[in-house]
């Protein structure tokens, strides 16, 4: 069975998308699956930090690949072989988790913004990553909104997870994304609500949104100060597996593993 592309998307920034992607990918890797994570948020990359990767450790990047200066094999960074020293990160030692980072060099970013992305090449790169690293799942951390590179990742994905906060603006934007995903025949569409204030009725939020979009809400994750304080480095759900945020996040894993 070919590896699946899992796109994580949100209409606006600040939904906790990169954090969710990194934690979700790691949780899937912990089940023994071979997992890749691509940072296609080329304008404002960030997911590498959560995997303990800094500018010095970062080798070849997705930018190098898109400019024909590196192969996908060279871009893939094995987190399992270099798990970093975070309490959560060390749990990934020996696991098959590969990160395909975007460059954080100012020059690289402005170049790609100027020249644009060669979509065929990016698409080729994703497929190559799946084949060469024998991935079961390739997670794509997209740029918020519905620009062309995001539309591409939605179009190529087998599983699309839209992250939203329970507010009107996110809901309005999500409605368009849901329609687009359906128009592009994405086989598996899930919604995940993040940063819900504890005073809200979580079950009510879930059923309201499911009714609104006729789509599955995998779980409603609470807004958590613990999370906000500890999430900038390391993988929160691995470090604090029993925290309510982590428990709610882990509920998404079976949806991914069982998706056809």
């Amino acid at each position: 069975m070919a590896g699946k592309i899992v796109s994580i998307h949100s209409f606006r920034g600040g939904t906790g998308k990169s954090n969710t992607t990194a934690n979700l990918a790691s949780q899937v890797a912990l089940t023994g699956k071979r997992v890749g994570v691509v940072d296609t948020d080329i304008q404002s990359p960030g997911i590498h930090v959560l995997f303990g990767l800094d500018e010095q450790k970062m080798g070849k990047t997705l930018n190098d690949f898109l400019h024909g200066k590196a192969t996908i094999r060279e871009v893939g960074f094995s987190v399992g072989d270099n798990p970093g020293d975070g309490e959560g990160l060390v749990k990934l030692a020996g696991k098959n988790l590969f990160l395909f980072p975007s460059s954080i060099k100012g020059g690289d970013i402005s170049q790609i913004l100027r020249e644009g992305i060669d979509f065929n090449m990016l698409n080729e790169g994703l497929q190559t990553a799946i084949t060469e690293f024998e991935l079961d799942y390739l997670f794509i951390d997209t740029h918020p909104g519905l620009n062309e590179e995001t539309l591409l990742s939605i179009a190529t994905s087998d599983i699309l997870i839209i992250i939203l906060r329970p507010d009107s603006q996110d809901l309005q934007g999500t409605s368009v994304t849901v329609d687009i995903a359906r128009s592009l025949d994405v086989p598996n569409l899930f919604l995940m609500v993040n940063k819900a204030l504890p005073k809200y009725d979580f079950a009510g939020i879930k059923s309201d949104i499911e009714k609104q979009f006729q789509a599955t809400v995998t779980s409603v994750l609470p807004l958590s100060f613990d999370m906000a304080e500890n999430a900038s480095k390391d993988l929160f759900s691995l470090r604090y597996p029993d925290h309510e945020w982590s428990v709610a996040l882990k509920k998404v894993v079976p949806y991914i593993l069982e998706a056809k």
Binding site: A155, V176, I180, L184, D185, P187, K199, D201
Partner: protein
């Protein structure tokens, strides 16, 4: 000793299981003492060679904190015993006792008490019966508290409805266990009330989606040539991958 005193002795927790004859035997070996308000009955550290059963009035059991200030540990009244632990261990008084009002107590020295136990089997049996009753009551109450704790932990509050509200039985010594039960009962009641309030407070969010805007934005994106190509490519891609 007067009949009035004998009546009072019979009402105490310690001697309530005693027969009339046994009660008289106790009274003969004990002495009645009176204290005025604020009078010290015993000091912390005094040798413990007797115990008291309160017939009338109230006393406070006190100790001192690090600064030397008085801390009241407990208040005791008619029917309760003080210093009965002295009967079984040889340690000095663990706390001081001061009269709060006019107090009448029955003092029984350790020596007299043991002599009584030796000579009168009925006194010994009566006291043992009293102890075992206290223990049985306590065990029943503790079992109840365990049961309720487990139910509360599981979120099952049905026992609140099935149980008569328990009020604090004041005074007597073996009522301490009952008091625990009653405190526990009212604690769970309050926890449940707070939980109910919280559930009520949970805000139900209402979401309004502007359907016109949704359609307009969807059309803007999907009407481009880029999108048309993408849709074709995505279709081809899926077919290719499905055939693998």
């Amino acid at each position: 000793m007067s009949d009035a005193i004998l009546q009072k002795i019979r009402k105490t927790e310690f001697f309530k299981e005693l027969s009339d004859a046994a009660t008289s035997a106790v009274a003969e070996n004990a002495s009645v003492r009176h204290y005025v308000p604020n009078e010290t009955v015993m000091r912390k550290g005094d040798p413990a060679d007797s115990f008291f059963v309160i017939l009338d009035g109230h006393l406070k059991i006190v100790t001192t904190d690090a600064k030397g200030d008085e801390i009241i540990i407990n208040k005791v009244g008619p029917g309760e015993a003080i210093g009965e632990l002295a009967l079984v261990d040889d340690r000095p008084r663990s706390a001081g006792v001061i009269a709060l009002d006019e107090v009448e107590v029955l003092e029984l020295t350790k020596e007299a008490f043991f002599k009584l136990l030796e000579q009168r089997l009925d006194v010994s049996l009566g006291i043992l019966r009293g102890f075992s009753n206290r223990l049985r009551f306590s065990t029943t109450y503790i079992e109840k508290v365990i049961d309720w704790s487990q139910k509360t932990a599981a979120g099952d509050y049905s026992f609140l409805e099935q149980t008569q509200p328990i009020t604090n039985p004041a005074g007597s010594d073996d009522a301490k266990a009952a008091q625990l039960l009653s405190t526990f009962y009212s604690m769970v009641r309050k926890v449940k009330e707070r939980e109910d309030d919280l559930k009520h407070e949970l805000e139900r969010l209402t979401f309004e989606i502007d359907q016109e805007r949704r359609k307009r934005e969807f059309d803007e994106i999907t009407s481009t040539e880029f999108y048309a190509n993408l849709k074709e490519q995505a279709k081809a891609l899926r077919q290719k991958r499905n055939s693998k």
